[in-house]
């Protein structure tokens, strides 16, 4: 009980950093996730996250230890490699995008697990500290590391803010965007780079397996609340941030509980509530509206019928 109180009142400096960092990561993923989802590239985030694992392992071997900036560079490089692999397979073979993503994701992740196992065998279990990259581990993270990750997320948010209008026209009507001189290829590359950065930044805290939850569940939840892109970005960022904070907090209270699953479950809880109760597109308000409409129509036709029979009689 005491631990919960300490967490909620943010008494430790470390707790503040962990919660703050996890929130910023969640916000960045939620915001970038909106664009990825609207461009129908949400699954690319999953491919990037899984493909980042071998990058992390190779960087660990090359840097000779768990030096986070090096690991992030490795993750980023392999994330971009995964994007390239999916694009090449899709463009040059008859394999469709979904199959290309599944293929890339599993091949890279398999390689990552193989590398991770051999590193851990060599370093002795747990000493490598790379397990967190699979299921996420926010609590044990060093302050400095979280600052780096949060910094990357802030950069991602800034780029989205600057190019929001271009991304909106790309996602809504790419043919029109091209006709006014925007390079669709360039914008797509930039968007994928942002997805890659946000994914990689969230990787140590959320884990490769579940990052995609933080990219897709917040935007899917936000869509129930609004028909405006700007509002959707804010709501999605808030959902992602809240899920990130809850995940980091709970996993720091419960020993051996990874952050990733808690983040996913808390985001899902928000999604379910949004789907059922959101006033604009929620299921219950929609049913209520339909019922009210039916009653109104029935009422009116009764009145008309009454007037007609009254007039003739």
């Amino acid at each position: 009980m005491d631990a919960v109180l300490r967490l909620i009142t943010l008494q430790d400096f470390n707790t503040r950093v962990v919660l703050g960092g996890a929130t910023v990561l969640g916000v960045a993923c939620g915001v970038v996730g909106v664009l990825a989802m609207l461009r129908r590239r949400a699954l690319m985030g999953d491919a990037i996250a899984h493909a980042a694992l071998p990058g992390v392992c190779l960087a660990f071997l090359i840097a000779g230890g768990r030096f986070l900036p090096a690991l992030l560079v490795g993750a980023m490089a392999f994330g971009l490699l995964a994007i390239l692999a999916v694009t090449v397979v899709r463009r040059t073979t008859r394999v469709k995008e979904d199959a290309a993503i599944a293929l890339t994701l599993s091949v890279f992740f398999g390689l990552g697990i193989a590398l991770l196992t051999s590193i851990q065998r060599r370093a002795g279990s747990d000493h490598a500290g790379l397990d967190g990259f699979i299921f996420g581990k926010a609590a044990g993270m060093v302050t400095q590391d979280l600052m780096v990750l949060a910094g990357v997320s802030v950069v991602v948010l800034a780029v989205v803010a600057v190019f929001l209008k271009e991304f909106a026209s790309l996602c809504f009507d790419s043919a029109f965007a091209a006709s006014i001189g925007r390079s669709v290829t360039l914008l797509d590359v930039l968007l994928m780079a942002l997805v890659c950065l946000a994914t990689v930044a969230a990787l140590p805290a959320v884990g490769a397996v579940l990052v995609v939850a933080l990219l897709t569940i917040p935007p899917a939840s936000a869509r129930f609340w609004t028909d405006r892109l700007s509002t959707m970005l804010v709501v999605s960022g808030a959902v992602g941030g809240a899920a990130g904070a809850v995940g980091a907090g709970v996993s720091s209270l419960v020993p051996k509980l990874s952050a990733g699953p808690v983040i996913t479950l808390s985001a899902t809880a928000i999604f379910v509530v949004s789907m059922i109760f959101a006033p604009l597109h929620g299921v219950v308000p929609r049913l209520v509206r339909q019922r009210r409409n039916r009653q109104m129509v029935a009422e009116q036709s009764r009145r008309v019928a009454a007037e007609l029979s009254g007039g003739s009689g």
Partner: protein, 255 residues
Amino acid sequence: MLPPVAVEVHDVTVAYHKRPVLWNVDCSLPKGKLIAIIGPNGAGKSTLLKAILGLIPVASGRVEIFGKPIREARSLVGYVPQRETVDWDFPIDALGVVLMGRYGRLGWLRRPGAADRAAARDALVRVGMEAFGRRQIGQLSGGQQQRVFLARALAQDAPLYFMDEPFAGVDAATERAILDVLRAMRDAGRTVVAVHHDLQTVPEYFDHVVMLNMRLVAAGPTGEVFTNENLQKTYGGRLTMLTEAAEAVRAASGG
């Protein structure tokens, strides 16, 4: 001022996956006219528009917009794509769509300001959609959506427009409303090039016509080139015979 020729297409050939879909098209489109591009399915009508706009590469030949290559003439050109290219679930309202018409002139970094909003609202008024500005785009009817896209084009305020089937799938009232807007644009000296399907309305709606069937059949003032002979060459003739032959072969082998 702008030169009298709006679009000059010089011997353009376009290929998809190395298979040519347009052969040696050569024509010039005058300024200040309503111009129809007609031809059967697969004739390359949309392809010609996209090639002129630089959205797909040309295998050979070149295109000039008011005497300039398209890269230097983007600000002179507005575009209304086919409705299928759009994501109708996108979280945007009608006014937001029209506001996108201002993005070209704003460039990469500037945000739309009060003047852009006023221009967007004005464009909605001109197509009779001012009451629907706050409606999410997917919740409008097909005809209303088409009018919103026309408003977006108006907000671009360009001297030259390309429209891919602006009358597709709209009711008679909307068709009339769109035509009125197009005529007003022409009377203000603008040029509109539209892919069109309804042959019966060509003489009434359009001043100039481009007849296409992978090759250019004819291009010129509607009164001169919209003849039975040219229509036969564009739609009938060999093409019909080929289909009939294919049908006959299928019937013979099947029965």
